[in-house]
Symmetry: C2
């Protein structure tokens, strides 16, 4: 199968329609049955696969950047009597374990993006459930800010995963029932074990939806609530939308390159070296000038490229288990862009959107099942928002002192300044983890005073010895040790079990409190991954594998 | 293999010594190499299996109840140069998946009990790490309130699970590093991937231990800190200790019976009916009289029996996936005992210990991988602390109205009162979930006002219609529907995949915030269960299976 490409645009959608009507947008799902991303199944009843979700992800992203006038989004179905049947079961049944896990991760990230559009961007989503919403279909509605359900005597919302497939409603369903919607756990238990689902009046009484309406009033109810949501929106003003042009991505056997992000692939070592390049020019004087640059505006362009690279590598390069993350460029220029965006926060939608996008991309890194090592070298620009990249990593290696003469990189005197990092206000609140903590607060969770003390170091270069002393890096080898130490760390990492590392990293990266988002990626996804491996679901006689064959799953009745 | 019996006493210990010296106790681990609970491995280097942990669990419990004078506990090793090598690897390698999962759950519960002894009972634990503490050995130390490590140039603390076995430090290790001890995640990453571990000075610098001492001063340092911990203890006063005599448990093919708890086993239906019997006599007038009853004092006796039954069924009856939980007796008598204990809270160690024990037993139920249905019928006594049993269940069924003549139970007029539940102060704070919420606050997490409103209903019987209206029960079928509805619910449950139910229940039962304890049972254990199923650990060429054979594990290098 061809590599998965996460880039698309409305002109190429096969499954969605994006309709804009003033401050209200509509995303209408009407899947092309024959448009599956892989062969072997038909996308009936608005069931989805990764290809459908790539379009949904694109639509959510474009509404933020290209349609700033939109202040509420109605998500609905173009089919009669059917909202969405959830993830396509035959697709799931035929998928290998890694595909299932990666598919669920991406769909979860997109649903979180939907939720954040309401919370962060003043684009609230309303699910207009105009027919049956089953499994992932109902979970998609659960990710919206409001659910309006048609009360036609037949439509149901349901989570039939447990009873029909022997897997969990793993796209946030269980968590959003009890943690977001505060549905009583005993009622949630009933919902999640009742394959036939719940009709409108009970759904409303149990808190599964926010409003119901008979067919004759459904459209008007949805429109009224959408207008009310738009009226509540606190979306910042600003100029017209930005066109998100296709990314320039070149893919070769051992390299992937975008204008601002490059990756070297070392298959024998199981490693990728990712380099994020700083801006080539100083920041424009104001957001109006930034807007004129459109998609080429460096903070937006580099985030789009990094986001795309993360998705590409996660799906298409599963054997490359260690990512080395580097930066290259001028820290002052990076901070200039940050200052521009921070100065416009809350006053300019584009500045806000770029920051929220960076936050989501960093969070995508947080849940990426790869070992992440930051390499901080002379010529790098780990400053402010780019320093967050290093802090997201499992370890930070910082080169202490200058390379000796033979190793000195070409490029004049600037290039041979010792490596330095720069703290900025971006490290103290703008880009929090999904649990609400900044990466510094999480890193030093036992010592709030230390975090407070770090603020006085903002804006100036911190070299290796000091960075080590401040706890900002893990190791700071000097020129004699650097190459060996990095090589040994990478070889050691490559020798360990990928599964054990994934489990370990998923625990260590989420110290501190949990939020619904972190619970979805932690508790829920971890259990789901386990359930996916169990013969009761995925064995030859498992319910997931047998679904649609007319044969019921055969279960080992023992509890583990 | 014989059923696992969780009952023991110091006279039968093979692996521990329990030494009492005034307000300081010592638990000295010195495992009998040939004393494994199953054949096939030797318990070298103080490695442990379930049998060792049963003794540890017993010792922790007896210190609370039988040695009220103890205010600090030193946990150490009787071996030279070795503290504890963790879970026995050959045991783990040969164990099937369900055994591994259940073993980890029990060991986690015991480590939580150690932590709670310090937090709740004024019996702080100090790990005197007098030699290498590897894997579960270091995790055991992590569960203590303080870790004092010998600095002899050779002793290390280590978590070699990931590098040597391709599994996680799953007995709380990862969580306690970053969440309890606030170790930086990058340093935790180094610790958890470095098989050779960390020596004393670095361990102290990284926050892995609290104090280090050279061999010449180690004993004195431990003693000094133990005395200081004892001096800080806020353990309530009271009379002498209670002897915890062996439980009277009778086990037959289809029934398990204790004096106050009985269980009927229906193997064809995959079900257990557990009945908790209320007190036969009214509560004694004061704690002095209660103390004279010793282990026969009803709240203590019934909790011990229920705790033992939970453990027995979890280990020995894995195919019985649904537990129906009933009570029988007089609600007023139950509340009389509660009032006695609540009135002595903070002033009498025995009253405190019984409440904390009930809390731990309820939490054991919360993490039990069985479907739990409460059946609330006429003649039951779901009042106060026993109502928590019902609230811990996944669903609550309450019989509405009286049985008709044919069904009327014998026993006089009292027995045919309609079913009723009684709220009491015990439901509003004394017995919280591991996340700190009461079960009512968790159940109605969206509606704090409702919880507050429920307080005014304390102390009076609430019958089915009202209980349904107040959201305290899930369903309230009347006499015509009761039998069918219960039968159908049980049959439906029995038809579902045990794994999917386990994953679902583990999500729905933990709505709301997470704590280190819930993260250990949620995030950490769920990931560990997944890792356990993966061929990289448990396949024929997996590292866990191959450990000790001289052959390294062979890994699928793809990340999932």
């Amino acid at each position: 199968m061809a590599p998965v490409d996460f880039g698309t645009d409305p002109g190429r959608y096969r499954h969605l329609r994006l309709e804009i009507d003033g401050e209200i947008a509509r995303i209408v799902i009407e899947t092309d049955e024959h448009g599956g991303i892989a062969p072997g199944y038909e996308l009936k009843l608005n069931s989805y696969d990764l290809g459908v979700d790539i379009e949904l992800h694109d639509a959510v992203q474009r509404l933020r950047f290209s349609h700033p006038e939109v202040r509420a989004v109605v998500l609905t179905s173009g089919l009669d009597k059917v909202f969405c049947a959830g993830a396509n079961i035959r697709m799931l049944a035929q998928a290998d374990h890694a595909w299932k896990v990666n598919f669920c991760k991406f769909t979860n990230e997109t649903r979180n993006a939907i939720e954040e559009a309401g919370a962060d961007s003043g684009q609230a989503y309303l699910a207009a459930v105009n027919g049956n919403a089953a499994g992932g279909g109902y979970e998609l509605a659960l990710a919206c800010d409001e659910i309006i359900m048609i009360d036609d005597g037949s439509a149901t919302v349901s989570l039939p995963e447990v009873p029909l497939l022997a897997v969990l409603p793993g796209t946030g369903g269980l968590t959003r029932l009890v943690d977001k919607r505060k549905v009583r756990k005993d009622l949630a238990d009933v919902v999640a074990t009742r394959s036939e689902g719940v009709r409108a009046k009970t759904a409303l009484a149990w808190g599964l939806v926010d409003a119901i309406a008979p067919p004759s009033k459904f459209g008007a109810t949805v429109n009224d609530r959408a207008r009310a949501a738009a009226a509540r929106s606190r979306r910042a003003p600003g100029g017209p939308g930005i066109t998100l042009a296709p990314l320039h991505r070149s893919v070769e056997e051992d390299a992937i390159a975008y204008p601002h992000v490059t990756a070297g692939l070392d298959r024998s070592a199981g490693m990728v070296t990712i380099t994020v390049h700083g801006p080539r020019e100083a920041a424009p004087p104001d957001m109006a000038a930034a807007r004129e640059q459109g998609g080429a505006f460096w903070p937006l362009a580099v985030t789009r490229e990094l986001d795309d690279l993360i998705l590409w590598l996660r799906s298409n390069e599963t054997a490359l288990g260690t990512w080395l993350i580097k930066t290259s460029g001028d820290a002052g220029a990076v901070l200039g862009y940050e200052a521009l965006l921070a100065g416009a926060a809350g006053q300019d939608w584009l500045a806000d959107e770029i920051r929220h996008f960076a936050k989501r991309t960093l969070r995508r890194l947080d849940v990426t099942s790869r070992s992440l090592f930051a390499l901080i070298e002379p010529g790098s620009c780990f400053a402010g928002p780019l320093l967050e990249l290093a802090l997201a990593c499992d370890r930070q290696f910082m080169r202490n002192g200058l390379p000796d003469g033979d190793l000195a990189p070409p490029g004049g005197p600037d290039a041979v300044q010792p490596a330095a990092i720069v703290l900025s206000p971006a490290n103290f609140g703008a880009l929090p983890l999904a649990n609400g903590l900044t990466r510094l607060a999480s890193r030093f969770s036992g010592d709030g005073d230390h975090v407070a003390g770090l603020e006085k170091h903002t804006g100036r270069p911190v070299e290796a010895d000091e960075a080590l002393r401040l706890g900002l890096v893990t190791f700071a080898p000097d020129e004699l040790d650097w190459d060996d130490e990095i090589r040994i760390a990478c070889e050691e990492r490559a020798s360990l079990s990928p599964d054990a590392l994934t489990g370990m990293e998923a625990n260590l990266r989420f110290a501190g409190p949990e939020s619904p988002q972190t619970k979805i990626f932690g508790r829920l996804s971890a259990w789901q991954n386990w359930v996916f491996t169990r013969p009761n679901a995925s064995g030859p006689e498992g319910a997931l594998r047998r679904y649609g064959t007319g044969q019921a799953g055969v279960f080992d009745r023992n509890r583990a």
